[in-house]
């Protein structure tokens, strides 16, 4: 008996006590070899998508975040000037030496081919910090070939801003390859004369209000989709399959309709002379001068986006509710719970994964939504994404657009993290 035991010991363990297979290879190594093929297959299956995401998602987002701090314009255009400025004490105008370096920098730039010149971007960049700076750079660059010493007077004659300490402070501050200026601007703040970050004037504060409004609108839309989506999802979940499929088609109809068609429909419905207002006036519910403005304001954004995003709430809710057998509520009732208690204590908690998934979807989609607010939002229905788009397309201040976008991205990630702490991402059920 003891001998037989020893025999099996020899087969399954080597001298150091490790488990081995019949041919003496350590069990772990043998297992790893067997698993390797499976891992390769798994890797092969995800690689195409991974590469695709890398190229079209992760890389562009990295680019965007980089752009929000990237600051090459001053460094590229004015290398000698920045060197000369190192000795400047920041009090009063710089010395003649600095102006001479500036002239030299501008001349070097003029010798470059036109589309490689740095002075254009420099003017734009400085103008973000100090309005009028672009004109100063443009005019002076044209005149600089005729400048003669003393350069200081020549510059001051060319444009009055060269005699403004503020401009020199901007050049010194932004004469570094990385900047926080875009984030400072995106948070409605600016640098004061001493270089401290302070709030902007009340009437020039835009973005924080816009973030707050975006947040508030997104929360409102999320709450509305829950309130509207929960009953219909519940109803669909208790219907026989063929009826619930029919209802599902109606729920999905918004998905299948062109956004412009829907927008036209909303305009017909919601405008001051639209169907809703005309009907209310005709019925005598409101007076002719008491028409609701349902469009080109916050209400337009809320109504339209709730409509668009409703399916994102209904689908996860429905898929969760379908899996809740009616016997749970029946059990609760048989145990003495009123229908309301049975709903609140037994049914509702089980739908939380669906509510959570729907809320996260709707909230995250709506916080970055762009097209609907742009079409029906008017001024008070604008969201942060519209401002980002404006900086991308009209003001061409990509650095600020990138900073605004990065703040939005971080905000969403923080909210998701909070959500995960409160609810747990593993409790999401997306379908």
């Amino acid at each position: 008996m003891a001998q037989a035991d020893a025999g099996t010991e020899d087969l399954t363990r080597d001298a150091s006590g490790q488990m081995v297979t019949a041919d003496g290879v350590p069990l772990k190594q043998s297992l790893k070899r067997a698993e390797r093929r499976r891992k390769l297959v798994a890797f092969g299956l995800v690689t195409p998508l991974l590469l695709f995401l890398l190229v079209v998602f992760i890389f562009p987002i990295g680019q965007m975040m980089w752009r929000s701090v990237d600051n090459p314009q001053v460094v590229n255009a004015l290398p000698l000037t920045l060197e000369a400025l190192e000795d400047w004490d920041g009090q009063g105008l710089p010395d003649e030496e600095v102006y001479a370096a500036l002239a030299s920098d501008f001349r070097t730039d003029m010798e470059r081919a036109r589309r490689d010149q740095f002075s254009g971007p420099l003017g734009v960049r400085l103008n973000y910090e100090l309005s009028g700076a672009r004109g100063a750079v443009a005019r002076t660059v044209r005149n600089v070939p005729d400048f003669e010493a003393p350069y200081k007077e020549a510059f001051l004659d060319s444009h009055r801003l060269w005699g403004d300490v503020a401009l020199w402070k901007v050049i010194e501050r932004e004469g570094r390859p990385l900047t926080t200026a875009y984030y400072v601007a995106a948070m409605d703040r600016e640098f004061d004369a001493d270089g401290n970050i302070v709030m902007r004037d009340e009437n020039r504060q835009i973005y924080i209000n816009l973030y707050m409004r975006t947040l508030a609108l997104s929360v409102a839309i999320t709450v509305l989709t829950i309130l509207l989506g929960f009953p219909i999802a519940y109803y669909m979940s208790i219907l026989p399959m063929r009826y619930s499929n029919l209802l599902m088609i109606f729920v999905l109809l918004p998905f299948w309709t062109s956004l412009l068609v829907r927008t036209t429909a909303w305009i017909v419905l919601l405008q001051q002379q639209g169907v809703i207002n005309e009907s209310l006036v005709a019925l005598g519910i409101i007076g002719d001068d008491g028409r609701f403005s349902l469009m080109y304001n916050m209400w337009g954004t809320i109504i339209a986006m709730t409509h668009i995003l409703l399916p994102f709430m209904v689908l996860p809710l429905y898929s969760v509710m379908r899996t809740i057998p009616p016997s749970y509520v029946r059990a609760a009732k048989s145990l003495g719970a009123t229908p309301f208690t049975a709903f609140r204590k037994v049914y509702l908690p089980q739908t939380l994964p669906g509510i959570g998934a729907g809320a996260v979807l709707v909230f995250i989609i709506s916080i970055g939504y762009y097209i609907t607010p742009a079409l029906v939002g008017g001024q008070s229905g604008r969201m942060i994404s519209n401002e980002i788009a404006r900086h991308m397309q009209q003001s061409l201040n990509w650095g600020l657009a990138a900073a605004l976008g990065t703040i939005l991205l971080i905000g969403v990630l923080v909210l998701y993290w909070v959500y995960n702490r409160l609810v747990g991402a593993q409790n999401l059920k997306l379908g």
Binding site: R330, A331, A332, S334, A337, T338, P339, K345, Q350
Partner: protein, 369 residues
């Protein structure tokens, strides 16, 4: 029509009075049900699926409404009372333990909705857990329990608020065979300890025979027979019950003569059999003779104390340890089963052998066609 089993004296705890139920307005799934269930009784509704047994249970629980008729609990009409006010415990087929609550919270649920004090709740929950031998499992989630443990919790939850009546809807359907048998005994013992009335629905006849005081056999929306397990097995009143409960040999024929308790039947192949008159009215009626396989004996040559003896041919032998299941052809029926006990004085049989088989009149019941 209704019989009360021995030992159950107090009748009318639960009463179905002419209850009918239709879902579509065209067909009745429950046809004129009259049923009295005594206090403390364990009554099983047994029948194939679609026979109306579950519908009856759901009407009693309040999840379905009766189309016609009255359901009374202790003499009070309950068919118009909302389910949560009936105070009837219920165990569901899939247990229906609330998955987001611990076992203890599940058990506390019926007590908390009754606004019971915290100390009382804890005491009762612990007592309920002890009863089903899960004292240490109060803080587990239902998903962390095995099927049998979940079932015990479901039973405990249906009993923890001390209802007078507990309904069980195929509660053991999802368990494997061994566990199911064990749970059958446990539920039976709990019933005996607490003395609550249990109405139990199942399609498993063994389960019904094991656990019940009385069994109501359902088919086609009607109670076919209501009787204690031995009565049901040994004295089926119609062909459906005879076929549904246990194994049964059927011989079809026509009544030739009636003589008091017995009757003479001419089988379709011309053989004549004397049978017990159970469910035939007149000479000339078609009848089904019902005969349990274990009541048929392989008769040695010349033995004459059996009322009916026929020549049979052995078609198939299946060795089952304690008995040999023997399929023979007799009286024109080649699906006739005889259980031959595996004992030293049983004859040796071979396929194709000719044997004489026989049975006494009392074991052969003439039922409806």
């Amino acid at each position: 029509m209704l019989k009360t089993a021995d030992g159950v004296t107090e009748a009318g705890h639960v009463c179905f009075d002419n209850v009918q139920k239709s879902y579509d307005g065209e067909t009745l799934v429950v046809k004129n049900l009259n049923l009295d269930i005594a206090r403390g009784e364990f009554l099983t509704m047994l029948g194939p699926s679609g026979s109306g047994k579950t519908t009856c249970l759901m009407m009693l629980a309040g999840f379905e409404s009766a189309t016609f008729g009255e359901i009374r609990l202790d003499g009070q009409r309950i068919d118009n009372v909302a389910p949560h006010k009936r105070g009837i415990g219920m165990v569901f087929q899939n247990y229906a333990l609330f998955p987001h609550m611990t076992v203890a919270e599940n058990l506390a649920f019926p007590l908390r909705v009754r606004k019971m004090g915290q100390a009382d709740v804890e005491k009762r929950v612990q007592r309920a857990l002890d009863m089903v031998e899960l004292s240490e499992f109060g803080s587990r989630m239902p998903a962390q329990l095995s099927g049998g443990q979940q079932q015990r919790v479901a039973v405990a939850r249906a009993l923890v608020f001390e209802p007078q009546l507990v309904l069980m809807d195929e509660p053991l359907g999802a368990l494997d065979k061994n566990l199911r048998e064990q749970m059958q005994y446990e539920i039976k013992h709990i019933h005996e300890q607490l003395g609550v009335t249990v109405v139990y629905v199942t399609h498993d006849q063994t389960e019904a025979l094991t656990m019940s005081n009385r069994i109501a056999v359902f088919n086609d929306g009607k109670v076919q027979q209501l009787a204690s397990p031995p009565d049901l097995y040994e004295r089926p009143e119609n062909a459906f019950v005879a076929a549904f409960i246990g194994e049964n040999n059927k011989l079809m024929g026509k009544v030739e003569a009636i003589d008091g308790d017995t009757c003479k039947v001419v089988l379709d192949n011309g053989d004549k059999v004397t049978a017990l008159k159970v469910n035939v009215d007149a000479v000339g009626d078609r009848t089904t003779l019902s005969l349990r396989p274990e009541r048929v004996v392989i008769a040695p040559e010349g033995s004459a104390d059996l009322d009916n003896v026929f020549e049979a041919e052995v078609r198939e032998l299946i060795y089952l340890g304690d008995h040999i299941r023997t399929r023979v052809k007799v009286c024109g029926n080649d699906e006739f089963i005889v259980k031959v006990p595996n004992s030293s004085h049983s004859p040796d049989l071979a396929r194709g052998a000719k044997v004489r088989i026989g049975w006494i009149t009392q074991d052969c019941r003439a039922l409806d066609a």
